[in-house]
């Protein structure tokens, strides 16, 4: 009656026979409440009954018991990255029914770099059996079960076993206390109903699972979804405290597929050192739903690059180079870079008379700094594009620690301009300073700094050029970035080479000191803005981290200043400064963790998803999509001067335009992909979709005016001619 496991590997002759022999004699030894064992060197399995005799009409528990050899594991319902769940097929007497397996909470079992979900050690898989009322005392019932399971160490072996329980029917059930208590212990440890509904929201590449009601004391929290097409199983699941409970950040599966708004899973965690688990029902936001045919078939508006405005048109290499050069030139006028350039120009003015050669050298070094930094950034962006992953222009500002570093730098520059401290030879003054070796490095580094602070800005022409750059072979992409760098460096370079231009600058004097001080305030303003960006990216933790970083930087600068030239004390001070820097750096990395923000920031404007665009288009609504980021100054300027204007709002309302916002403040590959589809590598990007199914979007320029938006809205609504008298 009992069978042996079917071996997956052929080379187990002796063991196979031994198992067979044991299986043949086992029935005689087996007590009624436990079936004969099915054994392999990896798993010994039995069917355990909580009854020695069953009673008509009752429900009782049986369990498939797997004693798994050390190092091996079997699988949960969702096996994770590989594997297959244990299955039981029942053959029961008429009227008898068996429930599904009541699954214990799984463990995450890493098989570097993958993760499986399953069980080690001894496992009981309980099933509830219902005895029909019609069963007669004195009869016997025979429960037959065929179970299949996959047992893996590093290698995997499919096994199966047939189990039989032959139980008498009595007027009153005879409980096998031992079996009952083992099964009861398993049942008691099953994931408990959570008592709250979890919410799953999209965060682009990632998913955010909010678990309201989960205690803040919970640690080692992990979510196991039943569906194997929801998350990347091996990805870490960082937890952040939320308004109520905890929020888990999950990596979206590359095979992402979600057909029902409600899904289930198990959350395991530790509380007070004890392992706990909850069975959760998760409600997914509608935007996450994919069409029944699969994730990739989700309606994604087809992409055609319109020849309409110059931006976004398909470019030739020469056009891209020209665009990049022009874009770089215009970038000089953007608010991000202006203060840095003024400081450079002031330096030139001071040097102008005596050191014309120095000025030229400085100009060249500035160019060098600009080119090298652009090439580093471009190398990263183009390199990733070549590897098939899009990170986009401005990617570095998607990292809260870097945004915070920039805020610290801005604050320090500001105080330095005010004269609060001097970095460099204290008495020598700027001129002498610049003439020193350090001055050369300084000129180079000013170029680097100018590029770094320029990245939040995008100038006209730049979007299309950078977009072109990332879609071309690396060499061509880098050429485009080189053109951009040359355009960007040209004004300062020209100034350094043109004595006439330099003479236009007034003589150095008191006005320079005052102007220098005045420039401190744009720096502080920039720092404030960066702290705000950090708060959008990483919440209150980001603000705290930024302010702590500023404090630490201020302390270090002060410490280095007061101990200058004091020998041994200086060494100690340097050590202390390094310690503070390390501590603050660590704190920033700990606290400035990106949080899910896109939805929260969107307000009454809906968050963008390709599906939403397609849906709204199908309803006949024109759709305006605003691709933006908190760190993109050009975007914020457009929002202020055009998007938030009353006449635009009125026109949008009148024409029933749906506004969607794609917030790229934090990394989001869906948005990056959508940008790439329009030939862009960064924000801002403004798209107007006509209210017709599958109609192509119009790409608006990077600097918006209210008129432009209203006209585009009319075009999208198909009403451009009628209301010309507006």
């Amino acid at each position: 009656m009992a069978q042996t496991s079917r071996q997956g590997f052929p080379r187990q002759g002796f063991l196979h026979k031994a198992v067979l022999a044991f299986a043949l004699i086992a029935p005689a030894l087996a007590i009624a409440a436990e079936s004969a064992a099915v054994s392999s060197p990896r798993v010994t399995a039995t069917l355990l009954s909580s009854r020695d005799a069953v009673q008509p009409g009752e429900r009782f528990q049986v369990a498939l018991v797997q004693k798994i050899a050390r190092g091996w594991h079997t699988y949960w319902q969702n096996p994770g990255d590989s594997g297959e769940a244990t299955r039981i097929d029942w053959a029961l007497p008429a009227g008898m029914t068996a429930s599904d397996i009541r699954w214990p909470a799984p463990k995450a079992l890493p098989v570097e770099p993958l993760v499986n979900f399953g069980f080690e050690g001894t496992l009981l898989l309980p099933v509830e059996i219902t005895v029909p009322e019609s069963a007669k005392p004195g009869e016997r019932v025979t429960l037959k079960a065929n179970a299949t399971w996959l047992v893996c160490e590093k290698i995997c072996i499919p096994e199966e076993g047939a189990f039989t329980l032959d139980l008498p029917v009595e007027a009153a059930a005879i409980v096998d206390e031992n079996a009952q208590s083992r099964i009861d212990a398993t049942l008691a440890a099953l994931p408990q109903p959570a008592g709250f509904k979890a919410k799953l929201t999209s965060d682009g590449d990632r998913l955010a699972l909010s678990l309201p009601g989960l205690s803040a004391q919970a640690s080692e929290i992990r979510f196991f979804p039943l569906s194997d097409t929801l998350i990347e199983h091996a990805a870490p699941q960082p937890a952040t405290p939320a308004a109520d409970g905890v929020s888990l950040q999950l990596a979206r599966s590359s095979a992402f597929k979600l057909e029902n708004a409600e899904l289930s899973g198990v959350v395991t965690f530790k509380e007070g050192g004890l392992p706990r688990s909850l069975a959760v029902t998760v409600e997914a936001e509608p935007a996450l739903l994919t069409a029944a045919t699969g994730a990739s078939a989700a309606p994604r508006p087809a992409v055609v690059r319109l020849p309409l405005p110059v931006e976004g048109a398909d470019l030739t290499l020469w056009a891209a180079l020209a665009f990049a050069f022009a874009g770089g030139l215009i970038l000089n006028l953007m608010p991000c870079v202006l203060p840095v350039l003024f400081i450079k120009a002031l330096g030139f003015a001071q040097l102008a008379r005596a050191h014309r050669d120095e000025v030229r050298e400085q100009g060249m070094l500035f160019l060098g700094g600009v080119v090298v930094t652009f090439m580093i950034l471009a190398g990263i962006v183009v390199g990733f594009a070549a590897l098939g992953s899009s990170i986009g222009w401005g990617f570095q500002l998607q990292s809260p620690p870097l945004v915070i570093a920039l805020a610290v730098i801005m604050t320090l520059i500001g105080f330095n301009l005010l004269g609060a401290f001097e970095v460099g030879t204290s008495a020598g003054g700027v001129g002498q300073d610049l003439a020193s070796r350090g001055g050369r490095l300084g000129a180079f580094m000013t170029g680097a700094l100018a590029v770094v602070v320029a990245t939040p800005c995008t100038a006209p022409f730049m979007g299309a050029a950078v977009g072109y750059a990332v879609t071309q072979p690396p060499a061509m992409g880098l050429a485009v970035f080189l053109a951009l760098a040359l355009g960007f460096a040209l004004p300062v370079l020209a100034l350094s080479f043109a004595p006439g231009l330099l003479r236009l600058l007034p003589k150095p004097g008191r006005w320079m000191v005052i102007l220098k001080q005045a420039f401190a305030f744009p720096m502080f303003a920039t720092a404030i803005w960066l702290v705000w960006v950090a708060s959008v990216q990483a919440g209150p933790g980001g603000v705290l981290a930024a302010l702590v970083a500023v404090l630490a930087a201020g302390f270090i600068v002060w410490l280095v200043g007061v101990t200058r030239g004091t020998g041994r004390l200086r060494l100690a001070a340097s050590g202390l400064a390094a310690l503070v820097a390390l501590g603050a750096g660590w704190f920033v990395l700990q606290s400035a963790v990106p949080s899910a923000t896109s939805e929260a920031r969107a307000g009454d404007i809906q968050a963008w998803t390709p599906e939403r665009v397609a849906g709204l288009q199908a309803e006949g609504k024109p759709v305006f999509v605003n691709f933006t980021a908190a760190w993109c100054i050009t975007c914020l300027a457009n929002e202020r001067v055009a998007l938030s204007r009353q006449e635009v709002k009125d026109a949008f309302a009148e024409l029933k335009v749906a506004s969607l916002k794609a917030d790229w403040t934090n990394r989001n590959s869906a948005i990056a992909q959508a940008l790439a589809e329009q030939g862009r590598a960064g924000v801002p990007l403004y798209l107007f979709y006509p209210g017709k199914k599958d109609a192509q979007p119009e790409i608006l320029p990077q600097l918006l005016t209210p008129d432009m938006l209203v006209t585009a809205a009319r075009r999208a609504a198909g009403k451009e001619i009628k209301t010309a008298s507006r």
Partner: protein
């Protein structure tokens, strides 16, 4: 070096340090994505020849992660389903590359000669068997199981990634009535249609990875 650090260099140095920091965190990401260029790779085949993805530009390429002893792989080979698929694809002018990513000392590791023997013994018809004992190709594609299938279109774009069919089981009976995601994707690719199921959950044994050195 008496205080030769100028204001600008001090500041810009900080900025660059931050920059490299953020670039590092970006590096942690980046596996194969549908609709994106398929990750480039270089690997030695069973004949000892170095092969690149780029040499197949203009052709459709199918990558099959395999491990001869894995029960799921055996299901497809013992029934000749896999070989038939390979031959049918070859007829269509499609390049079929079987990839073995087990490192030395791990189950599934083969040398070139053993790989060729296996191909002959099983009457398999891959264009080449790629040996990936450092698991570099596996990491680039994020392969998790054997089998795990990837289809690269003639433009070098990743068109399909995931399971070989819709029956995640090692039981040979499951082949009856299974829907081949690979055949479906290739047919749609040929017809110029969008791939209806471009990313599916692969199933099988875990790919044995070499530790990151």
């Amino acid at each position: 070096m008496k205080a030769s650090l100028t204001r600008q260099s001090f500041i810009a140095g900080l900025a660059l340090a931050g920059l490299s920091l953020s670039a590092g965190s970006v590096l942690a990401q980046g596996a194969a994505k549908i609709g994106q260029p398929a990750p480039a790779f270089q690997a030695v085949d069973a004949d000892g020849k170095t092969r690149n993805l780029s040499e197949f530009a203009g052709k459709t390429v199918i990558l099959e992660w395999t491990n001869a002893d894995c029960p799921y792989v055996r299901k497809h080979y013992n029934s000749a389903t896999m070989q038939t698929l390979q031959k049918d694809m070859a007829k269509e002018g499609i390049v079929w590359l079987s990839v073995v990513s087990s490192p030395v000392g791990e189950q599934g590791y083969v040398e070139g000669s053993a790989a060729k023997e296996l191909t002959a013994k099983r009457d398999a018809a891959p264009a080449a068997v790629l040996l990936d004992p450092n698991s570099k190709v596996a990491r680039a594609y994020g392969a998790t199981t054997t089998p795990h299938m990837y289809i690269v279109d003639p433009k070098g774009t990743l068109a399909y990634m995931g399971a070989i069919d819709d029956k995640p089981s090692s039981n040979p009976a499951s082949l009856n009535g299974a829907k081949s995601y690979v055949r479906q994707a290739v047919a749609e690719l040929k017809a110029g249609k969008p791939i209806s199921e471009a990313a599916t959950k692969s199933y099988g044994c875990a790919v044995k990875y070499a530790p990151l050195s």
